[in-house]
Symmetry: C2
Subunit: 195 residues, 2 copies
């Protein structure tokens, strides 16, 4: 059997929108520490190995980390502007920072660090995101040896989907996919619903 | 004094991305009835009169209505793909359906109905969104007299912002704008923060 139906739809959407830089941009909603919704754009960094799990790189100093520690549930809304397809992907997020006790997860974090550009990596050396700008002078030039491993602020997020809602605005079709666990084996149930 | 700073930035972004059909598409995060985040694409339908409030049309039968009745707090994430600007707009949503007791709000709902295309309006006559498709046969042809007022399922949402986070990925600048209420007068405080 190939990959689950929604993953194949997502791979097709990525392929047909691959000419657009922003096709890997998706909106990640979490529950704020004040209980209110929180929503921001993040970049899809591929699937974890041969699973359905989505990878996202983030700065450990951003608010989403604090939020996900309190409530690991999240929903991604991913709209493809060329093919008019929307994926709503709900699941739980595992936070993998440098203090993770699992050596396999630490290796995944390191792989994700080296898979991103040196320019992307340099962001993690910049001043604390979201805090007031303390001075108007340009920061001292940041340099980073390309062979240096992940810095403290670098964090890998793994979203394990348990529900996916797919909407195609061209064909006006909508599908919901839900996980069902029986005998410890996870499977997906798909249903066509009204758009 | 002109409009608040973030509104002017948003008007500029709408102008500079107006060549793109999807520039009016934004992602609306709410709290699901199960307490988990919920996130979907909605269409910006302009500001309410001469306020900072954002208008969204929706179907009263969608899950977001049930969710907003339990928790009116929402966050919009709006990414402009041409100018590389992101607005995160947090606030409370007022639901205006046909049962609203306020005649001014009912008038706003009617205005929003007639401001949308007849094709858009016809969506509100289709089968209940999100419910299973009961038959594969095409539905009977839907017809709608263009002079007919809003149907039951048509609902206007008004989001009143109380916090806005602006990020420009070209200039790498970020601003946060928060409301402050003193002597019953609402004003905005803006601060430059690290991206």
């Amino acid at each position: 059997m190939g990959s689950v139906a929604w993953k194949q739809l997502l791979l097709n959407a990525l392929e047909s929108n691959s000419n657009l830089k922003h096709s890997s941009f998706m909106q990640l909603a979490t529950i704020g520490t004040n209980g209110k919704p929180s929503n921001r754009t993040v970049v899809f960094r591929g699937f974890q190995d041969n699973t359905d799990n989505l990878q996202i790189n983030t700065d450990a100093r951003t608010r989403k980390i604090e939020e996900l520690k309190l409530c690991s549930s999240a929903e991604i809304c991913w709209y493809f502007t060329d093919s008019w397809e929307q994926f709503r992907i709900n699941g739980n997020i595992d936070i993998i920072d440098g203090s993770n006790p699992d050596p396999i997860k630490l290796q995944q974090r390191e792989n994700s660090w080296f898979a991103s550009s040196v320019r992307s990596r340099m962001q993690y050396l910049e001043p604390n995101p979201g805090l007031p700008c303390l001075n108007e002078q340009p920061q001292a030039e940041i340099t980073l040896d390309p062979s240096t491993g992940p810095v403290d602020a670098f964090c890998l997020l793994i979203l394990e989907p348990d529900q996916v809602d797919y909407l195609n605005l061209k064909s006006n079709q909508r599908l919901t996919c839900k996980t069902s666990v029986s005998a410890a084996k996870k499977s997906w149930i798909m249903e066509r619903v009204n758009p």
